[in-house]
Symmetry: D2
Subunit: 260 residues, 4 copies
C-alpha cells in the first residue's frame, strides 16, 4: 500500500470506556485518511522505573478489552509482552505481539513470540544500532515466522535524553522488515531524578514528519483524550484531538515521498 | 519565500575551472527548480585532522575565484573563515561568512564576522545543543548585525560517528534565525585511525529529506563532478549529476510541508 | 572488610574440568592476597546477539557444576538469571543471583530474585544512569530483601562502544549498596557487523585500577586459561595466568585508597 | 620523576593579590608533598557561552601578573591562547602554552604555539577520541617542537554532560606525550539553559583518583579560596583549603601505582 500504517492507542488499558473512546476516534480518522490502523494498548507495564508506578488492572481484563475493541471496530490489535508465558497468552487475543526495547535481545522471548505465528514487532533497544536489529529479525525467521516488524524508538544519548537517528530507518529496512517510528517513546527523557520519565510532546510533529520523509513504513503514536490524567506515559502522549491535523500533514508528506 | 534555499559547491576551491563547472550546473538546476542558490567553497582548510592533508592554494586565489564565479552566475557566494583577520579579508569577496563548527564559541571571531555587516552563518559545534546556539546568534546581534543563519551538522555520538538530532531544527529556529542542514558534514565519520575522516554518502537523501520535513529553511550540500578525486571531503560529497534528482524530490517534499 | 571482593570465573560453564581448573587457581591466588572471592559462571546465555552463538549445556548441568565447585573450594557462587522461573531454580544452587544489564528494569524478575532471599546483584543497564539504579535497589528492598549489590558495566556511547563513567561508583553507593565494577563487559564493543561482540582486553588493568581508586567495593572479572578458545566472550576475558599480577597491583592500590 | 605533576591556579587572573594568595598556598603544599607544580591562570576568556560573561582585565595585565608570580615563587607558569598573535605575545611571559579543547584542530594555532619553542599543552576536544590526539602532537612536532603535553578533559555525552573516558590516558600516552587529567573541566555541565556552565565539584576526588590509578602523568585542577565568588568557572573549582588533603591521598595512590 502506498500510505504509511499507524499503530496507535492509549499507553495502557485504563478502562473499557477509555479504549473504546480512543478506538472510535482513531477508526474514523484513519478511515477518512486511508491509513491502515492497528489499535494498541499495554495490558501490563512490567518495567516502570519505580515500583510505585501503575502497572495495569490484570492481564485477562486488559487483553479482553483490547480484543473486544478490535472486533468492534474491525481493527487488528497489538500489545507488548515480557515473557514466554505472556507470548502464548496474549496471542489468543491480539494480532501483533510487540517486544519491548529492553527485551529485544532475549532470544527465548523472541522465539516464543515467533512460534505463535502472530506478527512480531521488535522495538530497537536504546543500546543497539539499526543494523544490529537484523539479528533480531533473523532469530524470528529462524523460528519459522517471517512476519517481522522493526521499530525505532531512540538511542541512549547521555543519561537523560534519547536521540532519534533517522539513518536507522533505511538501515533496518535492509533486513527486509517494514520499519515503524515510535514517535511517543522517542521523546522520552529517561533517568529523571524523581523516577518518572519526562518528555517533550511539542516535538511529536517534528519526529513524525522526519520519519515519513526518511521512508518509515509505519508510525506508532500513543494518544489519550487527556494525557495529563493518563495512568502511564502522560508526558509524551499526543492529545487525541490533535491527531487528525497531524495525520493530514503526514499523508500529504507521504504522497510527496512516494512520488507519482 | 516558500521554497528552501541551497548552499552548495565544492568543499575547497580546487581550480577556477572546477568552480565554474560546478557553478554552471548548480545555477541551471536551481533556476529550473526555483531554489535560491548560494555558491560555496572553502579557500583554506584550517582544521584538517592531519597536517599532511591539502589546505588550499592561497587565500587570494581562492577568494578571487569565488567572487568571480558569483559575479558570472549572478549568485551570492560564501566561504568559511577561521580568524578575525580572515573575516575582514573574506568580506571583500563574499556575501555570507561561515563560522566553522569547532569555532562557534570563539567570541572574537563571531564579533569580527558580525562587524563586516555580511550575513553570518554559524555552524553548531558537535559539542553544543541546538538551544545553546541562541547564545551564538545573540553575540552576533549584540555586535550590531542581525543577519544570522544557524547550521546543524551533527553532534558527537561516540568517537567515530555523528548523529543528526532533528529536534535542533525547531530548537535553533526559536532563536529567530533561519536554520540550514549541512547534509555533507552530518555524515562524517570522524576520528578514523588513518587520520582521514570517513563518510556515508548513500545516506545523503535520507538526511536531506528528513531535514526538509522537519522544517529546515535551507540545505548545505557539497558536490563535485568526481568525489573520489576531490582534494578534501571526498568521502561525503554528492556526485554532481545526482543532485538534480534529489532536489526534485526535496522541492516536492517542501511543498507538502508548507502546505497550500 | 578493608579489601575489595572479587567475582570471577569463566563466562559460561564449559565443562566441570574447566570450572574446577579456574576455581582452583582463583581460590589459591585470592587466599594468598586476602581477597574475598565469589566464583561466577553463566549456565545459560539468553541474550547472545546472534541465534547461532553458543548458549550453554543445559540448566541443571551448569548449575550443578557451579554448586559442586563452590562446595569443593568453600566459596560462594553466583550466576545470572533471565526469568522468574530461573530465579527459583538457580536459588537452589547459588549464593548470589545476578540480574543482567538488559533486564535491570524488569520488575517481576527483580521481585522473584528478591523473594529467594539470596543476595541480588543488579547490573546497571547500558541505558541507565548510576543514580537511577537506586530504583532497582528499592524494588528489591520493597520485596523484603536488603541484600543488594549494584554493578557498573559501561554505558552506551555511540553504537559500537561503551564508556565507563566512574562517577557511577559513588552515585550508586548512595543507594546504600556495595558497588562492583564489571571490568570484562565494560570493555565490550557491541553492534559489530558480524554479530559477535568485540573487545579490548589490553585495557583490563586500566579499567580495574581506576575502579579501585574511585572506591569500588568489588570487581567482576571473567577469566579463562585460553580466552581465544572460550565458548563466549573470548574477546574480553583475562587470561588466567595474568590475573595474579593484576590483583597484586590492585591490592596495593586499595590499601592506598582506604588509607591507614 | 616518580610523582605526578600538578598544573593549578585560579581559572582567570582576577587580581595580583588573588594570584599571589593562591600561588603561595600551592607552592607550600606542593613543596611539602614533592609534587612538581606549574602555576596556571587564564588572562583572557575567549569562548564564554554568553557574551555577557567576564572575559578578563586586559592581556598585558594578566600575563604580567602570571609572570611575576612565577618569578616570585620560582615556578613555571602557563596560560591558554586562542590565536597565532596570542601565541607570540604569551610566549614572552609563560613557560607552557595551553591550547583550548575547542581549538585543538586549528593547525595554524598549533604551528604558532610550536614555533615559540615553549612547551605546548593541547587539550583534547570534546569531539575527539584519545587516539586522534596523536595528530595534534604530530603537527607540533612537525613544526620543530617536541615538547608536547596532551590533556584529557571529558567527551561530549548527550548535550548537558561530559564523560571522562579513562582509556584515553593510555591511548594518548601512545603518542609519546605525557598526559594530564583536567579534573576541573571534566566535571562541566555544558549547554545549560541559562548560558552558564554548571558543575559537580563534589566529584573532584573521584575524577582525580581514577586518573592517577589509570597512569596519568599530571593533573590540572583549578582552585580558588572562594569558588562561589570566582569570576569564571566557580561551579567546578576546588576550594583552596581542600586541596592539600586531596593531594596527600593522590600522592599515596601514585606511589602504589608506580610500585617499588
Amino acid at each position: 500500500p502506498k500510505n504509511f500504517f499507524l499503530i496507535a492507542g492509549p499507553c495502557v488499558v485504563e478502562s473499557e470506556a477509555n479504549v473504546f473512546e480512543i478506538g472510535a476516534h482513531l477508526a474514523a480518522v484513519c478511515k477518512r485518511l486511508s491509513i491502515p490502523l492497528v489499535l494498541k494498548a499495554s495490558y501490563r507495564k512490567a518495567n516502570r522505573t519505580s515500583a510505585s508506578s501503575f502497572t495495569g488492572h490484570g492481564d485477562t481484563f486488559g487483553l479482553g478489552v483490547l480484543q473486544k475493541a478490535g472486533v468492534h471496530f474491525g481493527l487488528p490489535v497489538t500489545t507488548d509482552i515480557h515473557s514466554e508465558a505472556e507470548a502464548d497468552a496474549a496471542a489468543g487475543y491480539v494480532d501483533i505481539l510487540q517486544i519491548p526495547a529492553f527485551l529485544c535481545r532475549q532470544t527465548e522471548l523472541l522465539n516464543a513470540a515467533a512460534r505463535t505465528g502472530k506478527i512480531v514487532n521488535v522495538k530497537k533497544g536504546q543500546f543497539l544500532s539499526g543494523p544490529s536489529m537484523k539479528f533480531a529479525a533473523d532469530k524470528i525467521r529462524a523460528a519459522g515466522n517471517d512476519k517481522v516488524i522493526l521499530t525505532e524508538r531512540g538511542t541512549t544519548f547521555g543519561y537523560q535524553d534519547l536521540v532519534v537517528d533517522y539513518r536507522n530507518i533505511p538501515w533496518m529496512q535492509e533486513s527486509g522488515a517494514p520499519v515503524v517510528m515510535d514517535v511517543t517513546h522517542s521523546l522520552q527523557q529517561p533517568n529523571q531524578a524523581g523516577g518518572v520519565t519526562g518528555g517533550n510532546p511539542q516535538l511529536i510533529g517534528t519526529i513524525a514528519k522526519a520519519a515519513i520523509a526518511a521512508g518509515a513504513n509505519g508510525l506508532f503514536i500513543e494518544t489519550h483524550p487527556d494525557p495529563a490524567c493518563a495512568l502511564s506515559d502522560g508526558a509524551n502522549m499526543l492529545k487525541l484531538d490533535l491527531l487528525e491535523g497531524l495525520l493530514e500533514q503526514l499523508v500529504r508528506l507521504r504522497a510527496a515521498v512516494v512520488g507519482g
